[in-house]
């Protein structure tokens, strides 16, 4: 929440693998005070998206990385990381697989 009390609107950038879920776009805007709220808002607009990103038990999937600007939220406050209106969230698949 910014100094005016308004809930931030942030840009969320998506990897190619998830763009079909959001109408074949590479980014959308979402409203929320934390990453978790952003994900909830996205799941409301694009049902099923939360399950793409998180396990049923709520934690982020192990090979999904979310960056708040340039910082991996795993090294901040995780899904409870607060966001500001000027921020961009980047959802990326990690370098893994085989």
């Amino acid at each position: 929440m910014d100094s005016t009390g308004a809930i931030p609107i942030v840009k969320v950038s998506f990897p190619i693998a998830l763009r079909a879920r959001i109408g074949n776009r590479d980014s959308v805007k979402a409203v929320g005070r934390t990453v978790r709220e952003i994900i909830d808002a996205l799941d409301h607009d694009f049902p099923g998206l939360r399950f793409n990103l998180c396990h049923e038990t709520g934690e982020l999937r192990p090979f999904v990385n979310i960056f708040l600007n340039r910082e991996n939220i795993r090294y901040l406050q995780g899904l409870d990381t607060p966001v500001s209106p000027e921020a961009t969230l980047y959802i990326l698949q990690s370098v893994a697989g085989g």
Partner: protein, 368 residues
Amino acid sequence: MANTISYAPGTVVVLVGTKRGLFILSSKDREKWDVAAPVLKGRRIFNAILDQRNGQRLFAADNGDFFGNFLRYSDDFGQTWQEPEEGIQFPEDSGEKLKNIWVIEPGRRDEPGTVYVGVDPANLWVSNNGGRTWELNAGLAAHPTRARWEPGAGGLCLHTIIPDPSNAARMWIGISAVGCMRTDDGGQSWVFANKNTRTDFLPEKYPEFGQCIHRLVQHSTQPDVLYQQNHCGIYKSTNAGDDWTDIQQNLPSDFGFPIALDVHHPDTVYTVVEDPQGRQNVSPQFMVYRTENGGEQWEQLTQGLPGGNGVVLGVLRHGMCTDTINPCGVYVGTNTGQLFASRDRGDSWSLIADFLPPIYSVTASVVV
């Protein structure tokens, strides 16, 4: 707009689930095969079936590497896919996380909307509307021994589901490494059906549960007769799983994954046993094994199958199936991407696809 895909009645459609996509092969004569470009490209497809009880619907177990596991279905042979409205996701308060979707099984003929799915962690999911919504089977989820279930190397996977066509209340499931279980009350409760099947990897060799069953098939005309390929043996039951008889006989190994049956000659059973350490053909000659007398004696099937020092092949538990034509076709997919097929009950074989990704599952349907 994509061209409409359809197959003439009588065409055999073979669905091959692989580490990197779903391949659809088709043939009108089981000699010349068309291999279509993969759908669900790049995804780990553990299992796929063609359900023809009400139209023609493909179901696929899409276990993505990154963004979750989804049961998907298609009514146009894979050109487009749908997700369930309420999919296979554990309740948040259950503490469970879906690891992999292992098997999809259509319900009985007179229940055309019913479809079953087995997953890791071992649970049974049921849809009664053709896959649109799914429910967790509470009886299995709340089994009193669940806290003591241990996984096999591939996970705690419910990999086999057999709805008894002769008895709507009866079903069997196979879980690694828990064993065979049976319900006699439509899934409300489940009992173990492991008597006389071994656990060579445990101090107690014949426990009530803990067996690593790999695959299970039911006799097509005698519903109480079952065959299972186990980590520690190959077995037959004539009493619905109440107990089992070891039918390894002259097979060179007790270890293997797949098992399949000729529905027209249901005492004819196929398996591919392996060296248990290397998980590969026992000798340099790759073989499929067949019994025609319900397990009293096994013969080696080799004509058209590769052999030599450089032949090292493994077949996973869903990697073999038969079709419903008489004489039956048999299909074997390896974990190195070769798909072999026989149109004469296994007497001779052809390599019908090569250079595929590792094959997880093979299912065959005759288009109606």
